[in-house]
């Protein structure tokens, strides 16, 4: 009789997803990018403060213009660390565990698990573990960057007087929170990054059913996101909302304001496609 094997399977999958050398290596690389951003921006902050002391401020220290919320990696768009982190985000999300189904299918490990459990449980556990590993590898460096920057730069509530320094337009997603409860806004963006990091990782899981090349499985999601980012060029001067996750995962608008409907639609689409393909094709496929 088949007992409920989902819980132990999920524990094993989560343990494998987080305790592997690819997860650790990618996390270290992502942390380096995040800390590179923190180092640059803290240095810039102190340089600006010292310049203001030397040249004077005409009585206005512009305190709300220099806040944690436009200096953490999700709020600044000027450092090399920010550039590397947000551009390579889909690639970093996939590296920790996106390849696991392909390897387990190739080595035969999948057969030994499925004969003791069920395909449905195996693929559900695999999906959750891949999602979690992809999400965590993005989420943790962002949190550490936020904490490090918060140690040096005060968390002053942003003011609409200084929108030049914030670029969160009133039409942008959660802008009402940004100018009232900025910490809630940042936490929501951290969760959003976790979710999309997880979704990017599961893209490679879904792609594993169509390709027999490990390199392609990991890199195709990254290229798909880059193509989506490039497709914005055809909307120039026609549609003024952000459609690229590389831009809207950054809490402060880089080019266009963010629409919650686009984020929600893309997120749901990614989930339906990845979860649908994984569970349908995975369960249907004859592995023996």
């Amino acid at each position: 009789m088949m007992t409920n094997t989902l819980t132990p399977l999920l524990k094993i999958e989560l343990s494998k997803a987080i305790k592997n050398k690819y997860f650790i290596t990618t996390l270290i690389v992502a942390l380096i990018f995040a800390l590179l951003s923190a180092w640059y921006i803290i240095d810039l902050h102190f340089y600006t403060q010292s310049m203001m002391k030397i040249h004077g401020t005409n009585g206005n220290p512009m305190t709300p213009a220099f806040s944690l919320f436009n200096h953490w990696i999700g709020g600044e768009a000027t450092s090399l660390g920010f550039t590397l982190f947000f551009t390579l985000l889909p690639l970093m999300a996939v590296l920790p565990y996106g390849w696991s189904y392909f390897i387990e299918n190739k080595t035969g490990y999948l057969k030994t698990v499925v004969t003791r459990s069920s395909k449905w449980y195996y693929f559900l556990a695999k999906y959750i573990a891949t999602f979690t590993a992809g999400g965590l590898v993005i989420f943790l460096p962002l949190v550490i960057n936020l904490i490090v920057v918060a140690c040096f730069i005060p968390a002053v509530t942003p003011s609409t007087m200084y929108t030049l320094y914030y670029s969160v337009a009133h039409v942008s997603m959660w802008s009402y929170l940004f100018y009232t409860y900025p910490l809630v806004f940042v936490i929501l963006y951290l969760i959003l990054n976790f979710i999309f990091g997880g979704l990017f990782a599961t893209m490679s899981l879904a792609i594993s059913f169509f390709f027999k090349n490990r390199i392609a499985i990991i890199l195709i999601p990254f290229f798909l996101i880059l193509i989506l980012h490039y497709s914005r060029t055809f909307l120039a001067y026609k549609y003024y909302r952000e459609i690229s996750p590389l831009n809207y995962l950054h809490s402060v608008s880089i080019e266009n304001p963010v629409s919650s409907w686009i984020v929600l639609t893309q997120g749901l689409l990614f989930f339906i496609l990845t979860f649908g393909i994984t569970m349908r094709l995975g369960v249907k496929r004859d592995i023996l």
């Binding site: 290596t25 690389v29 600044e76 768009a77 000027t78 450092s79 090399l80 920010f82 550039t83 590397l84 551009t87 390579l88 690639l91 590296l95 030049l164 320094y165 670029s167 090349n213 390199i215 392609a216 990991i218 890199l219 290229f223 880059l226 193509i227 980012h229 490039y230 060029t233 055809f234 120039a236 001067y237 880089i254 080019e255």
Partner: protein, 280 residues
């Protein structure tokens, strides 16, 4: 097995495996041409007539890159997606075949060649041929697009596009013929060098991390205008013929030669001692 046979095997198998990627490169080039055509029509919509874009204007738009980024609190860095996509896709296209050939049938071929250096040289030559093929596909696609859209097939750069559409912030009104050669050859040369470097890195680190290192080099090049980052030479917009503080042709040639020589020598040397049975 003679070296000629080995090279023939590599060219045949490598191209067979990467044929679909050449088609994708053509599609990218076509999308970039359409993008330039639409952008050109949009930018000069209020003019009496839309200026024609020459063959080299299209190539300049595709390979151009971005102007120097000067960090500012009010202007964020916007990475050159078109340029990055093209270079990274070519790097991806050459990543799999040499790695795959170090397992199964490829190992038998390696044993029969009786010389690891010949194997490495053959893979390097295949790599060079594949990158050349990618660029040939881009040139032919642009050529075909110009023919269909009745754009002039000429090597005359239209000065107004350089600032209006490529946003180069160039102080020059006319551009030397040297810039034409830079547009035609420098992105290709840097691509060749980076692809060989990536192949060498695969021996030291995993292929995906090797690709990651190349992506970091390209992004850092886009972010910083400096002669020590090779990606700068692959951006004709950053040439000394376009901007006053641009990178120099001689430095670019030195960089390409240095990268190719270092990749080949380090690759040959390390591959002699490389554990080919380590299938992780």
């Amino acid at each position: 097995m003679t070296f000629y046979k080995l090279l023939k095997y590599d060219v045949k198998n490598g191209f067979r495996l990467g044929l679909i990627n050449l088609l994708i490169v053509a599609l990218f080039a076509l999308a970039f041409c359409i993008d330039f055509y639409l952008r050109k029509n949009g930018a000069y919509i209020f003019d009496a007539s839309t200026p024609e874009g020459t063959f080299i204007d299209y190539l300049f738009y595709i390979f151009g890159g971005i102007k120097e980024y000067i960090p500012s609190r009010t202007d964020g860095f916007i990475f050159p997606v078109k340029w990055l996509l093209l270079h990274l896709f070519i790097l991806y296209s050459t990543l799999y075949y040499p790695y795959r050939d170090l397992s199964s049938l490829g190992l038998n071929i390696l044993v029969r060649t009786k010389g690891r250096m010949a194997w490495w040289l053959s893979k390097s030559l295949w790599n060079i041929c594949y990158v050349l093929a990618c660029y040939l596909v881009i040139f032919l696609t642009v050529f075909g697009f110009c023919l269909i859209m009745q754009e002039p097939i000429s090597l005359n750069i239209t000065p107004m596009f350089v600032n209006d559409l490529l946003e180069a912030d160039s102080p020059f009104d006319i551009f030397s013929t040297q810039l034409v050669y830079i547009i035609l050859f420098f992105p290709l040369f840097i691509s060749l060098a980076l692809n060989l470097l990536q192949m060498t890195f695969v021996l030291f680190i995993k292929p995906l991390y090797s690709f990651g290192v190349m992506a970091v080099i390209l992004l850092a090049s886009a972010y910083l205008l400096t002669p020590i980052l090779p990606g700068n030479y692959a951006m004709p917009i950053r040439s000394e013929h376009v901007v006053e503080n641009g990178v120099q042709v001689t430095d670019g040639v030195m960089m390409v030669l240095l990268l190719i020589a270092a990749s080949f020598i380090a690759g040959c040397d390390y591959f002699r001692r490389y554990d080919i049975l380590n299938d992780d």
